[in-house]
Amino acid sequence: MTIKLMQGNDAIGWGAIAAGCRFYAGYPITPSTEIAEILARELPKVGGKFIQMEDEIASMAAIIGASVGGLKSMTATSGPGFSLMQENIGYAAMAEIPCVVVDVQRLGPSTGQPTAASQGDVMQARWGTHGDHPIIALCPTSVRMAFDLTVRAFELSEKYRTPVILLTDEIIGHMREPVDLPDIKTIHIPEFRVTKKEGEYIPYRNEPGDVPPMANFGVGYRYHITGLFHDPQGFSTQRLDEIDPWLERVNTKLEKHMDDIALVEQDRVPGASLAILSYGASARTARHAMKLARARGLKVDLMTLLTIWPFPEAQVEALGERVERIIIPEMNLGQLAYEVERMAGRKKVRRVTRANGEMVTPQMILDAMES
């Protein structure tokens, strides 16, 4: 066992290597750049490949291309770059190409405050690209969890043929903690792809909730991949009897597997009528506030969402039925709160928001308990 002091961005880089990521394309941007730096150094050592592209649009395109070619692929960026990637994230969702996109959130909009933290991309991670589409977004709350969720992001991406957003923030990315990482040789993600030719292959067969496996290019199944609506063979179509089954399958393929996808941590006390619900860096403030409140004799539940998209509706709905009030600290003007309000009702929700680059403080949460 070796305990190392490292920052979240380093842990993400090591998590990617451990998960079998063998291609990274990116463009420098604060506060995500360390991820590119560590992978530029480490990927060639394991036979992987790194490229610094001409912009974030190209980076996103390149990881999709490499994934089609058979490599587990990742990019990392922050707000402005994440905005540029949106069109091709939609392409990956449409064409069902596995890939991992790390967004180390910084204060926006626009150039905003590059070195200040934020959770302002919550809704962009869900709806940043045009059209209805499935997406997964995971939010780590510590350096160790940044490693674990990066590995998990690759597994979910491969398993469900979808882009996965690792939605972290400047605080987790640059915070240094002592961590004991597992030996990367012990981490194995099962192979979900078609890697050799055997019998007939239908790239986009349509059964509700189904995830047909992806064949890598060059395996021997010469098929067509497009961002247009497509039939089971991958050819573009305008026929409703081909579009509707596709919509049904793709937009249920995550919801039908929420038992596997929804990662939610709960710290409950019997008889609690109050809960704090949070994610990412704000979850650390939430935990601190919970401890202070419990020390004062208050019965407070804590719920931490590690998966924020698809939204863990069942867990949050159950929380809403159990408690009278849910306090939601966020480093934005209230984004995930919309989803909680949808499940628990507006009257139960208290937003604690801060969108100036500073963290929500435990005292702000305690004040909300009393208001």
Binding site: A25, K49, A61, I63, G218, S236
Partner: protein, 300 residues
């Protein structure tokens, strides 16, 4: 191939370059045009894109490549629909990004022949940045740019290669922006093989395409075509046949251009056809492979 046809195109009789007698029976490419895809194509009758597709098939066939070894990557536009009809690994991507997707694919599969098929708007307006950077890296991708000087799919807007004065739906009083010289741009940016032909000179295009695909480096072939339904109509250039004939009349070979006097060269307005550069420079994926060997050998 008939000798008079070769002579008409100014080509030497080179059996190696031409299909042999039983070419159809031997050709995996031609036998496997996608049978399960509905033809005809989406292209207007008379469009030059069919000629380009034919040249591409013949070039790949000439090189004896297996269909599995070839990937076609395209962006958006009339030209970018070409891969759908061809039985290779085909990736139809977002507007302007064919080369960026192709870059990832080529790095993942350096053994594969990756060909990016783009129109002038796709390659040089929205995708211009990827075009110059792919050339700078000298990554082993062939960029086939079909230049019809307009945005055909959206109905005839001016493109980065529309000539000054050309009319377009978004240049109703004539275009005032200077066009990009595609081949000069490619050479300046670092491409190691650059050639231009037209859809009238189909055999010459076969030859350039097969050389470009064989090249281990970033290769560019500009296929000058036309759009009779949009650009041709707006500029009263006649039928598809008229525009095809104009490519014959308004172009000259590099050799013929070389024989012009300095004064004639300065005044030349014709399209110059030829192979403008064919040089060796380290290819990106080979350089990266060397890097991996160095790093794994313990280099710090």
């Amino acid at each position: 191939m008939e000798k008079h046809i070769l002579e008409a195109h100014g080509l030497e009789v080179n059996e190696g370059q031409m299909p042999s007698e039983n070419w159809f029976d031997r050709s995996e490419t031609l036998q496997k045009l996608r049978k399960n895809k509905k033809f005809p194509t989406i292209w207007c009758s008379g469009c030059g894109l069919g000629v380009v597709m034919g040249a591409l098939i013949r070039a790949i066939d000439h090189l004896g490549l297996k269909n599995d070894e070839v990937a076609l990557v395209a962006g958006i536009g009339c030209t970018a629909r070409m891969p759908i009809y061809l039985d290779f690994n085909t990736l139809h991507t977002t507007h302007g990004r064919a080369l960026a997707f192709a870059t990832g694919l080529k790095i993942a599969r350096p053994d594969m022949k990756v060909i990016a098929i783009m129109g002038d708007g796709d390659a040089l307006a929205i995708g211009g940045n990827h075009f110059i950077h792919s050339a700078r890296r000298n990554i082993g991708i062939t960029a086939l740019v079909v230049n019809n000087a307009t945005y055909g799919m959206t109905g005839g807007q001016y493109s980065p290669t529309t000539p000054i004065g050309g009319r377009a739906t978004t240049a109703p009083y004539g275009n005032i922006e200077a066009p990009f010289p595609i081949c000069d741009l490619a050479v300046a940016a670092g491409a190691t093989y650059v050639a231009r032909s037209t859809v009238y000179h189909a055999l010459e295009m076969d030859k350039f395409l097969s050389e470009a695909i064989a090249k281990d480096g970033f290769s560019v072939v500009e296929a000058v075509s036309y759009c009779h339904t949009a650009y041709g109509r707006l500029n009263r250039l006649g039928t598809a046949a008229d525009m095809m004939r104009a490519l014959k009349d308004n172009s000259l070979s590099q050799t013929a251009y070389g024989n012009l006097s300095p004064q004639e060269k300065a005044n030349n307005t014709k399209i110059v056809r030829g192979n403008f550069i064919n040089i060796e420079r380290p290819q990106y994926t080979a350089a990266y492979s060397n890097l991996i060997t160095r790093v794994q050998g313990g280099e710090k």
